[in-house]
């Protein structure tokens, strides 16, 4: 029977965790190129109507080479496929699909839960329709810490977003606290 809580990443010793610092811990190949349909579906729930994303001439007049996508959509375009031919069927009880945050899901650690505390992104080049995005994920640092929720460590993940020409589109820094929750008997 499936747990009623989501899975929170690979388990391992702290020594194993330390061995990942400074290393690439995952590469995400975006499933699709930037296109009008995915841009529109992303804009709708935000009620965001900006002609840079829909009108070629407006984008050119604003100094771009053509229609662009919102800069923050780099995160979306770096997401890999969730299913492809040959994969198993989705079934009741499966682990839920998670976004690729390799420092949570692929770096072994002696912690059972996690949450993100902070994120920052710098943007260097626009995303044009037709662009394809790949993300390289690195574990930059670990800082042990005890918070109110429990003992654990801050994991800093650096994500470098590149387009199909190997140009850096954006760099993101994500801080995640992985920890063991304080048990009810603890003071």
């Amino acid at each position: 029977m499936a747990s009623d809580k989501p899975s929170w990443g690979m388990q391992g010793t702290w020594e194993q965790t330390l061995s990942y610092v400074g290393k690439v811990v995952g590469v995400s190949q975006g499933a699709d190129a930037v296109d009008a349909s995915s841009v529109r579906r992303w804009l709708e729930p935000k009620e965001f109507a900006c002609p840079l994303y829909t009108d070629e001439q407006v984008a050119i007049d604003a100094g771009y080479d053509g229609k662009i996508a919102p800069s923050t959509m780099a995160i979306t375009y770096g997401q890999p496929t969730h299913w492809q031919a040959g994969d198993k069927r989705f079934e009741h009880g499966d682990e839920p699909i998670q976004i690729p945050i390799p420092v949570i899901f692929e770096v072994p650690a002696p912690f059972s839960l996690s949450f993100a505390t902070s994120m920052e992104m710098e943007f260097f080049k626009p995303l044009y329709h037709g662009d394809e995005v790949t993300i390289t994920h690195e574990l930059v640092s670990l800082v042990e810490k005890e918070l109110r929720v429990g003992k654990g460590a801050f994991f800093k993940q650096k994500d470098t977003y590149r387009n199909q020409n190997d140009e850096i589109v954006a760099i993101g820094i994500l801080d995640i606290f992985r920890f063991n929750p304080v048990s009810k008997g603890d003071s």
Binding site: D4, K5, P6, A31, S38, R41, W42, E44, P45, K46, E47, F48, A49, C50, P51, L52, V58, D61, A62, G63, P70, S71, T72, M73, I75, T76, Q79, H82, P96, I97, Q98, I99, F115, A116, T117, S118, M119, E120, M121, E122, F123, I173, D175
Partner: protein, 149 residues
């Protein structure tokens, strides 16, 4: 006071470095977190984690209900900055975005911003942005934008 009408933006307007003053406030954006919006958002941004559209799973992690994800906040902050500055506003950096509390189904959010710093020789403006969730700040961020001279 909130405004539930869909504001029409005049995209012919463009801020320049000459127009900006420290302390200037951006027009706020009001948006309600409905379950349908979260489902639309998850499908569009491809973060399918159940905590963002399944109440029972969200509650298992300590939230009161399904809640908006980081990508949604990022996108709304981009909207806030662009609608304020105009089409020639290049967003150079967003963050650090600090998530202080959940933004759950049923919550009413307002995205606010104000000019906190002007760096003339870099054509750069720093905005302080915060998300008001019914009187409580649920997230804060800085945004660095580049404007025309």
């Amino acid at each position: 006071m909130t405004d539930n009408t869909n504001q029409t933006i005049d995209w012919s307007l463009q801020k320049t470095m000459q127009d900006i003053t420290v302390g200037e406030e951006l027009s706020p954006i009001y948006i309600d977190i409905t379950l349908q919006r979260l489902v639309m958002e998850a499908a569009a941004n491809r973060d399918l984690s159940l905590i963002h559209h399944d109440a029972s799973m969200a509650k298992a992690t300590g939230a009161n209900d399904a809640y908006a994800n980081t990508f949604f906040l990022y996108g709304m902050i981009e909207r806030l900055a662009l609608e304020w500055g105009g089409l020639k506003t290049f967003i150079r950096k967003i963050g650090p975005l600090r998530m202080l509390s959940f933004n759950c189904t049923g919550d009413k959010l307002a995205f606010h911003g104000k000019v906190s710093e002007i760096i003339i020789n870099e054509d750069t403006v720093i905005l302080d942005v915060w998300v008001d969730n019914s009187g409580k700040v649920s997230a804060t961020s800085q945004v660095k934008v580049i404007l025309p001279k």
